[in-house]
């Protein structure tokens, strides 16, 4: 037999419920910890959600944050945050920093004069400095962006709930959406913990996590549905274990290739979208975990009606009886 890379042995018989109390407890604990972190530390909202201005500076001189701060101290701009940015893709003489100015009272966007004053102040510190990007968002828009972000996450979750409900049973839908909520909350918790900038792109990443995590869950559910027809008398727990084992090799393979692609993007994709890629990468790991340990286990807790009632339109034998 030719050599084949195997991420999982050909036949696995892992009991995914062996530690079900423990895994559910861990999940619940992580969610609680995330909410607590969120409440205590808050999220490092980007200007999309908070209003304000960010200026990216680039220079061939090393960044002297203290000097930048001193230069801008006299401008009375309120809250100013300066962070140096590092990235492996930068040249040796490429030094980048991010200057963030809080929204000014009483103005919808920062005026060009303010930006000009800041740019001039920084030029006195380092004459070679350039400003590759300047972004301002007014408080009015940022309020609306928060609302549309929340609506997006709720809308996507709702649409997925309805779709799974139509294709499977309501128990599956509840399990799947619970797993999604789990993934989202924990990902946000990580953003709170490390104070990574949380902006619109991160919301896009959260929605991608939704899509990916449900992808994994659906594959297991699909197999479960099929096996429940095949093994009508097997206890639900065993059918679930069998289904998870049968799809384990696929789950690891797909997660593996996706993670490889994402890690390449994380390392080589540049600092501008690192937060975005990090959110997706983290979400995919947690999403894989949740489809194996959260979604399915919740369905088991709720229980399925296995009597031979007429099935809904997404009947299990729609595609499965071909070789009968």
């Amino acid at each position: 037999m030719a050599f084949r890379l195997r991420l999982a042995p050909e036949h696995t018989n892992i009991n995914f419920f062996a530690y079900q109390r423990l895994t559910l407890a861990i999940s619940a604990l992580m969610m609680a910890a995330s909410v607590a972190l969120w409440a205590v530390m808050g999220l490092n909202f980007g200007i999309d959600f908070q209003g304000g201005t960010t200026i990216r500076t680039e220079s061939n001189q090393p960044v002297d944050v203290a000097a930048y701060r001193t230069a801008m101290a006299g401008l009375e701009l309120g809250d100013v945050a300066i962070t140096e940015v590092f990235d492996p893709s930068f040249d040796d003489d490429q030094f980048v920093a991010q200057v963030r100015i809080a929204a000014q009272d009483g103005s919808e966007a920062v005026t060009p004069e303010t930006i000009q004053i800041v740019e001039e102040a920084l030029k006195t510190v380092d004459p070679s400095i350039t400003f590759p990007s300047v972004e301002s968002v007014g408080p009015k828009v940022s309020g609306e962006l928060i609302l549309s972000a929340i609506l997006a996450v709720l809308g996507a979750s709702g649409a997925i709930l309805v779709y799974i409900w139509l294709r499977f049973e309501w128990q599956y839908a509840v399990g799947a959406v619970a797993a999604l909520v789990h993934d989202i909350i924990i990902t946000i918790g990580v953003f709170a913990l490390f104070q990574i900038k949380f902006d619109l792109a991160i919301v896009a990443a959260l929605l991608t996590i939704l899509g990916y995590s449900i992808n994994d869950t659906v594959v297991i559910f699909d197999r479960l549905r099929e096996n429940m027809i095949k093994f009508k008398t097997m206890p639900l727990r065993d059918v679930m274990n069998l289904s998870a084992n049968e799809t384990l090799s696929r789950t690891l393979m797909t997660t593996g290739t996706t993670l490889i692609a994402l890690i390449a993007m994380l390392i080589f994709g540049g600092d501008v979208i690192r937060g975005f890629v990090f959110a997706i990468t983290f979400g995919i790991v947690i999403g894989t975990y949740s489809s194996v340990y959260v979604a399915k286990n919740l369905v088991l807790l709720i229980g399925l009606d296995r009597s031979d009632k007429p099935k809904k339109n997404g009947t299990p034998d729609e595609y499965a009886n071909i070789d009968a």
């Binding site: 996507a156 929605l207 559910f221 049968e246 797909t254 996706t258 997706i280």
Partner: protein
């Protein structure tokens, strides 16, 4: 065996070929872009190409496909503005314009209504006091007679103003239907003027679109900064020609009744006293072009419409030897002395301009004034180098991701992995082909979407291959196992991808700019990856089985 019919295979291969052809131009992006720009310029100029344009045209043959993926602002660099149109500005102007008519109408009823006085009132309402309480009914009737029906789809049968009485005061307001209609007109007009001003500077593919009820989104690639863009569109170039009363160096001088004290643009510290009512205004201009005066200094040529020309001609004829001021936005550009009767209505504005300034002034004069003020809610500038860095980084990441996934697939599934690799290549080609054809915009998150697609695209293949493995364990013959593998994996593939597609749709609906670009690549990526996994690899596998007729296969 029960393989796909020939026609199906032909269609699948044709789609793949189309994808490759449609995506190919993106490999030669810079040259084809210049070719396309030159072609557009030549068409606009009526078909004759300058040598430079011809050189650009020759960079790429006309008969080959030349649709390119649009690069978003975050990749190309440029400026992004979200402006809110202060629609209420127009209400005030409407009420101010209505006042003389109301006054005249009430004056005709003087016996009944007595004295008429305008009272201070908030913008958008007109309060008029009359002195005879008994005349209120007659006054209301007279004012209501000024109303005209609203011309709009929703406001049929309604008048443009609401008139009511409060004690001795008449309150006149624009009706709701008229406000809606006015708002719409104001936005349309603002959009048109912004578009003309942006088009005047001739950048490639600016996006100018209405957003929501009263907002305008403006994205201009290639412009230096948002401040520059704001200067271009935000300035209401108000040009007037006023008679000059005198000049002074005293900034606090009292200009006297109906006169204005305006600073000089060229000579700091010099002020002109001019008459408040202009001889002619910029609204009577029909054209303005950057030019050079007789001393070869940058200047602006202008031409009036017939009314403006007549007024200007009459005035210059009557005031030879007197100075008049050319006033732009409350600054005196210059105050030349009238040398002779200027007939024909054209003239030249000289001042200490640079060429850029004279060009910009000509643009502003020509485009006309915005009907209402714009306030900017959001502005972003992205430098072109940053965009190029992002493209390079994205390319590196995509290539590495692709290489790793290919290695992983071949190591895991051998020959079948190689089939999946071919399908992955076609998948990326189809994705770019589709993006180019529909004119989708590629953004930085969009690149991340492509990389994610590369990682996830093999998912459907993996599902199928794993299924084929299982079927082979049940000792089916190879062709049968392959067929069953595809059929049984179908429901999982469809369900899994539809749910992801739902999230892409939601992203597209609520996202804007870069996020929307991500939604587009994610959505198209799902469609192309399902297509390539279900059809392309299957064609390859079946062709291979048909050719080699293997007794056993190892997946």
């Amino acid at each position: 065996m029960n393989a796909m019919p020939l026609w199906k295979r032909v269609i699948i291969l044709a789609i793949c070929a189309w994808g490759i052809v449609a995506a190919a131009p993106n490999l030669n992006y810079a040259n084809i872009e210049r070719h396309n720009d030159a072609r557009a310029a030549v068409e606009a100029a009526g078909g004759t190409a300058t040598p430079d344009q011809q050189a650009d045209l020759d960079l790429w043959p006309n008969f080959l496909p030349s649709s390119l993926v649009n690069l978003g602002l975050d990749l190309r660099g440029g400026a992004h503005l979200l402006a809110e149109v202060q629609v209420a500005d127009v209400y005030k102007a409407r009420m101010d314009a209505l006042w003389p008519d109301v006054r005249d109408a009430l004056r005709d009823q003087r016996d009944a209504v007595g004295n008429v006085r305008r009272l201070p009132s908030p913008d958008g309402t007109l309060r008029v006091a009359i002195s005879e309480p008994g005349g209120m009914a007659a006054a209301l009737e007279a004012v209501r007679a000024l109303a005209t029906p609203v011309v709009s789809l929703t406001g049929v049968g309604q008048n443009d103003i609401d008139v009511s009485a409060e004690g001795l005061e008449i309150v006149i307001q624009l009706s709701q239907a008229e406000r809606t209609a006015t708002d719409d007109r104001t936005i349309q007009q603002s959009l048109e003027i912004v578009r003309r001003r942006v088009d005047e500077v001739g950048t490639r593919e600016p996006t100018i679109q209405r957003q929501g009820a009263d907002r305008i989104l403006i994205q201009v690639p290639g412009i230096g900064s948002a401040a520059e863009l704001k200067a271009l569109i935000g300035t209401t170039a108000k040009l007037t020609f006023n008679p000059v009363v005198g000049r002074t160096t005293d900034a606090g001088a009292s200009p006297g009744a109906r006169n204005l004290l305006l600073p000089s643009m060229d000579e700091p510290g010099t002020f002109f006293i001019v008459e408040e009512s202009p001889v002619v205004t910029g609204e009577e201009l029909v054209d303005a072009q950057p030019a050079f005066d007789q001393n070869n200094r940058p200047a602006v040529n202008f031409r009036f419409n017939p009314q403006g020309a007549r007024k200007f001609g009459d005035y210059t004829a009557a005031n030879i030897g007197a100075p008049f001021a050319i006033v732009l936005d409350d600054e005196v550009i210059s105050a030349p002395t009238i040398q002779s009767h200027i007939a024909g209505g054209s003239g030249i504005i000289t001042g200490s301009f640079t060429v850029e300034e004279s060009t910009e002034l000509a643009v502003l004069l020509r485009a006309g004034a915005l009907p209402a003020e714009l306030t900017f809610l959001e502005e972003r500038t992205i430098g072109p180098e940053l965009g190029q860095d992002s493209i390079d980084a994205g390319q590196t990441a995509a290539l590495i991701a692709m290489g790793a996934v290919v290695f992983f697939m071949i190591a895991s599934y051998g020959l079948f992995g190689a089939f999946a690799t071919v399908a992955l290549g076609i998948n990326v080609a189809l994705l770019f082909g589709a993006l180019s054809t529909i004119g989708g915009t590629l953004t930085l998150p969009g690149i991340a979407g492509i990389v994610l697609t590369i990682g996830m695209a093999v998912d459907a293949n993996v599902l199928v291959f794993e299924r084929i493995r299982e079927e082979l364990r049940n000792a089916k013959n190879p062709a049968r196992a392959v067929q069953l593998g595809y059929e049984k994996a179908l429901s999982a593939i469809i369900d899994a991808n539809i749910t992801t597609f739902i999230t892409a749709t939601v992203l597209f609906a609520v996202g804007s700019g870069p996020v929307r670009g991500f939604a587009i690549t994610l959505g198209i990526g799902i469609i192309t990856s399902v297509f390539t996994a279900l059809f392309v690899t299957r064609v390859l596998v079946e062709m291979w089985i048909g050719w080699r007729r293997p007794k056993t296969i190892i997946v």
